[in-house]
Every structure is written in C-alpha cells, then in structure tokens.
Symmetry: C2
Subunit: 418 residues, 2 copies
C-alpha cells in the first residue's frame, strides 16, 4: 500500500474512533488512562529494549549528544510518564459541560456544550515521552489522535503505542483512538497534512524548521508557536530586589526553554543602580550580556548588541539588554521584536502595571513575576500540550480544554422562525 | 505599484491601525459606529449614485437577476445598514473583560483577558451591505479589517468605505482600521491570503467555490462554512402537530438560506401518520419531495431519491425524505451526509432528546425547534459575521466575541520558578 493510502486509511479509522470516544464517559476514559500507566509499568523492559534499538541507530547515524539524551527512555522517564498519566486522569473532564445558559424572548433555552475537537494530528521530534503526554491529553478530551514522532524514535514510539492500544482494548475503547505513524519517510507527514476531511487540528512540536514546514504544507488548521523571544521590562521606581530576583530566574533557571527571558529592558532612571547589580549576578552565572550603547557605558564587559540581537531567541546563557527612556519605548520594542509569547513588567506603579497588561498582547503578560510561569502546569491548567502564539482558538498554554470546542444546544417546545 | 505591494502596504497599515484600535475605549468605538450611521444617511444619494455605476456594469455584463438584486442598494438597504450600526453600538464590548480569576498556591493571581484578534480579512461576494456589517463588528471588537468585496460591487463598496473612513477620522480613530481593496483582479485575493505576518484571520463569505479557493490558497487561518445540509429528525412518539409546524417552517419559510432544512428523517412508527400530513402541506407550498422507497410507498407523487440527494444542499423548494428504523440510523445518516451545520430532533422522549443533543456534533443542535434559529441574532449573540462549521476557534454563529481571543494575565509580587 502506498504511503498516501496508508495514511488515508489511518485518518478514516481515527475519525470513526473519534465518534466512539466522543460518547465515552469520564470514568471510562480515566480507567483507560490508568490502564495505560499499568501497561507501561508492566512492559517497561520491552520499552527499554525497543528504545535501545533507536539509540543504537542514533549513534550509528552520529546524532548529537543532546539529541541522544532527549531520545533516551530512562527509568526516570518511565516514572514521569506514569505520573503524568495519573495526573491527567485526575483532571476535570470538560466534555459535555454546559456553560452559561440563557433564555430567548420566544422561550428558547440556549447554551454551549463543550465537545471534543474530533481527530488531532501531532507531529513532533525526538522525545518519545511526548507520545504518552499527547495521547493522554487527547484521550481525556475525548478525541482520537494520530501521532507522528521523529523517525529516530520509531521503535520507542511503537512500543509505547503498543502499551496504549492494549490498555484501550482492555477498557473496551476503540484501539484506533491512538495510532502511531510507523513510516520514516517524510512523505508521511505531507500525506497527513492533506487529510483535511478527517483531521480537525494539527499540533507540531519541535524546532522552528519543523513548524514552518507543517504550516506551509497543511490544509488543516495548525496550532503552533515558532519561538519565544520573552522580555522583562524593569520600570522606573521598580523594587530592585524583586527585579534582580525575577530577572535572574527568568534568564538563568532554565535558559534552554521557550519561556526564558531573552531581552531585558531597563528604564533609564534605574539603569545606573540596577545594571551593575544584575550584571554581577549574570557574570557569576556565566551569562553573556549584549547591550545597547548606554548599557555598555554602565557595565564593563558588556558586548555591543547588533540589530540581530533584538529578535534573537538564544535559548542559552546570553542576554540582550537595552536601556529605554520610557514605557512607550519598552512597549514599542516588544511590539517590534517580540514573538507574542511571554512578557513581564517589574513595577510598583499601579497605573503602569495596568497599562502594560492592557497594551502588551502576548499570550501571557505578567506583573512582578518570572516569565518562566508561562506553562500549563504552573498556571493551573494541568498538563499542557504546547503553547500557542497564534491568536486563533488558543493563545498561550494549551491544556485539555483547548483540545475541545463548543456547540450550541437549543431546547424549544415548538418554536418556529417568524 | 504592483498588486502584491499594494496589498502588502495595506496589510502593514492595518496592523498599525489594529494596535491603536486595541487600546480604544468602548465609548470611542461606539461613537465611531454612530458617526458611520450619520455619514451613510448624509451621503445616501452619493452611495446610490455609485451603486448605479455597478448596476449599469452588471447589466452590461449580463449578470443574473438574482445577482443584480443582491447588488442593489435601495433606500431599505440604507435603512437596514443604519439600524445594524446602531445595534452593534449597543452590544456589550468584550475587549478588556476578565473571566474567572484563580489563585495559584504561590500567590500568583491568574485570569484571562479578552483582547481583539488584530487584523481580519473579509472576502465576500456581491452584497455591498456586508461592507458595513463586517466593518462594524470588526471595529466593535477592536480589530482592523481589510475588506475585499466582489469586483461587481467595487463602486458601491468604495462609497461605503468613504463614509466609514470619514467617521473614523471625525472620531479620531485610525482611518486605516477599515480598508477596502479597490482592485478587480483576483490576484489581489491571492496577495491578501499571503499576508500571514500581518493578518490574523480570514473570513470568506459567499458560495462554495469562493470558500474553497480561499481555503486552498490561504496561509492565514480561515473561519468558514461550506454548506448547510440541515436535518430534522421526527422521532417515534413525537408530537406530530409540532413536527408539522417545525418541518414546514424549516423548509419553506426561507428555502434559499444555509439553515433551511434539506433532509427530513422520519421514524418508521410515525411515518404512516405523519408523511401524508406534511406532504400535503409541502404540496400546497410547491415543495418537491424526493424520498426513499418507503416514502414513495406512503406518499403518492414523491420522486425516488438517488444517492446524490442525501448530501445535497438544494437551497430551494425541494426536500429529501427518508424513513428510518430507529434513532441510531438517523444519527448515522446525519454523520454520513450532514455538514455539521444545524440538526433538530422532534421528540417527546427525555432520554432520546438527551442522546441526540450529546451525539450529534453539529454547530447548533435543537430539540423541538426549527433549524432556522441557527443565526447570531436569533440565538442572542447580536449581529453575526457568519456561521462556522469548522470546529476550531468558533463553531456555529460568530458574533463580536468570536472576533476576539484571550491572553493570560498574571499578577505576582516577586514570584520566581523553583
């Protein structure tokens, strides 16, 4: 069978399974999630074995240490998957809930009912634990899912899918609710992106290259985020102790992730006092500073920033630093160079906090807190399936609810249109 | 200047205007809407004049009576536009409102703030009143909009845009918040669909051909509905008086619109009693019935339906009619042939009403009411900008709120990530 028709049949099967899943009660879905956890525990040695096949091939292909690290399923990875499954089972099920209900003058009772999206396609790179994370959230929300992981994780992903399918079978849920594409050829991704008749949403997870490829080739709506160029603006009159603590945390606690700060903007009235303090801490942590002329005047050892530094997502111990004349300039800089991901203001001024929150349109805007809080778990959504920086459907961290939609439900007693 | 660069510059100007609009208070936006109404009243004779140019050209080109009818701006059209503007001014402004706010264990206060989408592109056919309807809803939601109406309505649309721009100017709002593409060449649509860096959403309004063209060529998310193949299912034990009233209304009251019933499904236990009653009423109204074999047995004069009839959107006084053995068969038929638009059940049974509502995933599902209620105004959303049958972002009628999104707002007092 050709790649095109294999994928087409998977999409049809997913659609059928999604209709079963949509009717499924919360307790059945939770039972399935807990059974997947049991299966993973029981099949752990088989999963490790299959993972070793991927690792062997990765070494033969000369993949980087970092990639091999992300590809590895350790005992800790297994434990984390199981913990994640139990957490998702505990989340509230949004499906079937009714929001605010209103009455029309003619007596019609109208409300919105939350329903699953249908079929979701996830396209991701190396880390095989995404297979479990993504599948569990999609199942919880009553969807069917087609997973296409990195070709380097093929054996691992198939072993994990085996555990999931066994658990679905044992619970009496449709096995085809979770399918893994076992085709290394990238043509499989192209084929998947053309199943607009059966797949309702595509979520790519990985580097900017993968995401651009998906957006450029998909006929299906895509929820994505390209990059996180996150800013912290230290305002005039800010509490500099808080500013120091937050800026250091935002840059240094985990520099390789999308919600780490990349650019710091500092009001000129506090720059002279604040820059030496924070640069000393950055120095000790090995952070390289690339600054505007005023920054370089105030801090010895700062490199001069170029135009490339302002939109850069370093994902590393490097920071771009700019002294601004006022808040307008800070907001303007964010609008021009930011990526709509996460922005924070450090301020003690009520009016300016209010204005920053209203005028900065990033998916998460914070006052006096670290950018690192842009995360589904940290914000209280439970597990997350990614962070969207496009505004349609979801903007910011996406949890179970973002994998659903609403339909209108109307109860009447014979009403007709006049 | 080339078409591509003209459109590109419009998109950049729209993006800039959208940032002004986002900060704009409700009272300023409402003032602008009411000023547009005044402008339209004052410029009515100029608008009629420009409309006559379009009508003259349309007649020369030999366009159909129906198209010329839709293109005509009568005094009643002017009155309706003005009434619509006043209604939109009265709607609640969703922008800046905060939903449910929750506290995290570390003291962070998290909520979602409603914000405008940004820049919206509307691509539509002949009816020039869409220019006013769409512009007013986009402005109310704090967006900028680029309107590309049918080339046959170019003069009318430019005259209307002139009135809008004058009103924006008088109110001190950015003129570029509403722009009309004054290029007849379809290349302008292609160019518009490539401005993904500046435009956040495309809404096509028109026939299936236009919508497919937009979906196939857009790099920007599209909210669309292809067609409305709406069903009414008359259940076992239904109140046949209600069934008669609702089915007649759903088919006959305005057959040319997307929420009119196209297929009627009747439970076999009531078919013998109900079909002669409803077919007599349909006969008198000139409705042609195309039925399954059982229907043809029960009604003299019904034509035999072919496989093409079940997915057909007639938009005319024609109905497909099928007798079903049970509710499973009715739900299965809808899943197979429906368009996820609008479905109704006529029933007196609590369990079956509940099941139909839960299992039929159309944008509007009704119990004992006409499909004709799938409409933003009828359901209480105020004016609508269209009906979405894709599930992402909006499913069903779209009002002002569907032209916005939410961002997360987080208030802290120094919190950092552990």
């Amino acid at each position: 069978m050709s790649i095109e028709s294999t994928i087409h049949e998977m999409a049809i099967a997913a659609k059928r399974a999604s209709m079963e899943m949509a009717k499924c009660s919360s307790s059945r879905k939770n039972e399935a999630l807990l059974k997947i956890a049991i299966q993973i525990r029981e099949k752990a040695s088989y999963i490790h074995e299959e993972n070793r096949k991927d690792l062997l091939r990765a070494k033969e292909l000369g993949l980087s240490e970092a990639m091999i690290d992300r590809l590895t399923i350790s005992d800790a990875t297994i434990d984390a998957m199981i913990k994640g499954l139990k957490e998702v089972a505990q989340l509230e099920d949004p499906v079937g809930t009714l929001g605010h209900t209103w009455l029309r003058p003619n007596g019609l009772q109208v409300s919105r009912m939350r329903i699953p999206l249908g079929v979701i396609g996830i396209i991701y790179e190396s880390r095989p634990n995404v297979t479990i994370d993504a599948a569990s959230l999609c199942l919880k929300a009553g969807n069917a899912v087609i997973l296409r992981g990195g070709s380097e994780a093929l054996h691992s992903n198939q072993a994990l899918a085996g555990a999931i399918n066994r658990a679905l079978q044992e619970t009496g849920l449709p096995e085809k609710a979770v399918q893994v594409v076992a085709i290394r050829d990238r043509a499989a991704v192209n084929a998947l992106l053309r199943q607009e008749e059966y797949i309702d949403l595509i979520i790519p997870r990985g580097g900017e290259g993968l995401i651009r490829f998906v957006v450029d080739n998909s006929k299906i709506p895509v929820l994505k985020h390209y990059k996180g160029v996150c800013h912290v603006y230290v305002d005039e009159g800010a509490d500099l102790k808080k500013a120091e603590k937050i800026c250091f945390n935002a840059k240094v606690q985990r520099p390789g992730v999308c919600n780490a700060m990349e650019t710091m903007l500092v009001h000129k009235s506090v720059a002279k006092e604040f820059l030496p303090i924070i640069s000393e801490r950055f120095d000790k942590a090995g952070v390289e500073i690339r600054g505007c002329p005023e920054t370089c005047r105030l801090i010895t050892g700062a490199k001069a920033a170029t135009e490339e530094d302002w939109p850069a997502e370093y994902l590393d111990l490097v920071i771009a630093l700019k002294v601004v004349d006022n808040m307008d300039q800070a907001i303007g800089h964010i609008a021009r160079y930011g990526s709509d991901h996460t922005e924070a203001i450090i301020t003690s001024d009520y009016e300016r906090a209010k204005r920053f929150v209203r005028e900065v349109d990033s998916s998460v805007v914070l006052v006096n807190a670290s950018t690192r809080f842009n995360d589904g778990g940290q914000l209280g959504l439970g597990a997350e399936i990614g962070i969207s920086t496009s505004k349609l459907h979801a903007f910011g961290p996406m949890g179970v609810e973002e994998l659903t939609t609403t339909k209108f439900v109307v109860y009447g007693d014979g009403q007709i249109r006049q």
